[in-house]
């Protein structure tokens, strides 16, 4: 196949792949009666948002972060407190949570301007722990007792208090995140992020303000994690510091790597595998973590770029769009 037919093929797969995925997600609750399965799928939607937002940081910008659960916790606690103590509706609380996640990202992004790789990992890991320990010790968060009775989202008379209604809300948010990051991947902003990832000196020489992009990658990652946090708080109606452990940050990180770093579909696949597989493997009882570990080792050996690593499902769309720009440029050449 030549470049052109590959691009065309990828475009068709990408477009209809996402469409099919959306249709399946919409139809699932009609055919699945078990609340348990729907429950797991809501969890997957939330992990999709988290993995996709971490991807902006790690996949696009190349900044390793092991503190994503911290942003998630910030969003969850801010939303919960605003709803419980200040009587905010879910929707306003959600927006404030996203803003708080964004600000927390900027705050953590400032040290990131000077740090890279393993050093940055340690700082972000510290951030995740600080948030958790704050939640554990502050008066307002009620420490390890957590915050119970968080209200459900409402629109007029309709209350999102069933698994199925939250399922639709969370997947809508997940698709919003997927769409936003997908658009970002092919925008000027996204290209600048990736240029910082690939070669900082070269990016600077083209006039890219590296500090701005590094900090804003954290901000955007934190913002979507804040969204996941608000949804999570409202869905489970109870949050405590135990929920937002380091193991969750690591888990989100693995989802992104496993699915395909820097791709759009990868983190979604990773969320399905790492949030869904442990449930499917429940029959193996204590062996399931071992099985999961072995699976990850095997994947990293045979597909080091992640399952979708070499196949960027947004690539086709990009090429078709680019071809239009190209044709016009070609006419200038000849």
């Amino acid at each position: 196949m030549n470049d052109k037919s590959i691009a065309l093929f990828e475009n068709v797969v990408t477009k209809y792949g996402w469409l099919l995925f959306i249709i399946i997600i919409i139809l699932v609750p009609r055919f699945v009666i078990s609340d348990y399965v729907v429950h797991v799928l809501v969890l997957i939607a939330l992990y999709t948002i988290l993995a996709e937002s971490l991807n902006v940081l790690v996949g696009f910008t190349g900044q390793f972060s092991l503190g994503h659960a911290g942003f998630w916790a910030v969003g969850a606690y801010i939303a919960a407190l605003l709803m419980l103590r200040a009587g905010f509706s879910f929707w306003t609380a959600c927006v404030v949570s996203m803003a708080a996640g964004y600000l927390a990202g900027l705050f953590l992004g400032i040290p990131s301007m000077r740090l890279k790789g393993d050093y940055l990992c340690i700082v972000t890991l510290g951030f995740g722990e600080i948030v958790r320990i704050l939640a554990m010790n502050l008066e307002v968060t009620r420490g390890p007792m957590g915050l119970p009775g968080i209200p459900s989202p409402e629109i007029g008379e309709f209350v999102f208090d069933t698994e199925k209604s939250m399922y639709y809300l969370c997947w809508a948010a997940a698709f919003l995140t997927i769409y936003a990051t997908g658009r970002m991947r092919h925008s000027k902003f996204g290209r600048a992020l990736m240029s910082v990832r690939d070669d900082e000196l070269a990016a600077v020489s083209l006039g890219v303000n590296i500090a701005y992009y590094k900090v804003h990658a954290f901000g955007i990652g934190g913002m979507f994690a804040g969204l996941a946090g608000a949804l999570y708080a409202s869905w489970t109606t109870f949050i405590s510091p135990d929920v937002f452990q380091f193991s969750d940050s690591a888990n989100i990180f693995c989802m992104m790597i496993l699915g395909g770093l820097g791709t759009i579909a990868g983190p979604v696949l990773g969320a399905f595998l790492l949030a869904g597989l442990p449930e499917l493997l429940r029959g193996f009882a204590e062996f399931r973590l071992i099985a999961l570990g072995l699976l990850m080792i095997a994947l990293m050996i045979y597909r080091p770029g992640g399952i979708l690593g070499s196949y960027d499902t947004a690539g086709g769309v990009k090429k078709i769009r680019r071809r239009r720009i190209e044709r016009e440029a070609d006419t200038n050449v000849t």
Partner: protein, 236 residues
């Protein structure tokens, strides 16, 4: 426009890499900076671009001291550095690399015109436009970084060792293009090279750096016929 460094000194820690160096370049001319390993050639370019801090002296663009500006602002003033070692964005396509070169251009029509210009200079880039830049050959990557730097129509192009590690035939091709730039556009070129013969063949003037200081400053012809330069850098 005129780009100049006045009595510039710079170093890394306690090691002084440049000492009291003064050089200049005007738009429309090509200036070569030649010298051996560790003479301070790359440091001089990095100082101009603000990547390496200077310890004393000035970097001036049209008489205005720009040495305190951050590197990305200096780049936006029309000074395009092509760093040593073919620093493409390997996981972006050739086209995306060129789009990054036009990072500061918001006008789509201008972008297309510049893209056409880059493809005109290096038709190979047009053939390879869908490929990841990391998959290109060395020569193609060098073409890409030069094309990328030219996307925003810079006033000054600072080239750091464009011949490094390339086959002679590719070097010739690239230097032909560089030589043509000054004739067709209002750009000033500062060319840092170890390959003194080829650098001086397309430059109007040249500086010879040794141990961080300018030891010779003359026209390219004069340098080419200078016995010391011949012996030390051209080999015969």
């Amino acid at each position: 426009m005129k780009l100049s460094v006045e009595r510039l000194s710079a170093g890394y820690g306690s090691i002084e890499a440049l000492h009291d160096v003064s050089m200049c370049c005007e738009t429309g001319e090509t200036v070569a900076i030649i010298g051996g390993n560790g003479a301070g050639k790359s440091t001089a370019l990095n100082c101009i671009c603000g990547v390496v801090p200077i310890s004393c002296g000035e970097v001036c663009l049209d008489g205005r001291d720009i040495s305190d500006e951050p590197p990305h602002k200096i780049a936006r003033m029309g000074i395009a550095q092509v760093p040593e070692g073919r620093r493409v964005f390997p996981r972006l396509t050739v086209l995306e690399n060129l789009e990054m070169g036009a990072y500061m251009i918001d006008d789509k029509a201008v972008f297309r015109e510049r893209l056409g210009y880059a493809y005109d200079l290096f038709p190979r880039l047009h053939e390879r436009r869908w490929q990841n830049a990391g998959d290109l050959s060395g020569g193609e990557q060098q073409m890409l970084v030069i094309g990328r730097a030219l996307m925003r129509n810079p006033r000054f192009l600072l080239l750091d060792e464009p011949s490094l590690g390339l086959a002679p035939v590719v070097v010739e091709n690239i230097f032909d293009v560089i030589a043509g730039l000054v004739k067709t556009s209002e750009v000033g070129i500062v060319l840092v090279e170890q390959n003194a013969a080829i650098a001086l063949s397309i430059a109007g003037r040249g500086y010879v750096l040794e141990n961080g200081a300018v030891i010779l400053d003359a026209s390219a012809e004069a340098l080419l016929s200078d016995d010391k330069v011949k012996a030390a850098y051209i080999g015969g």
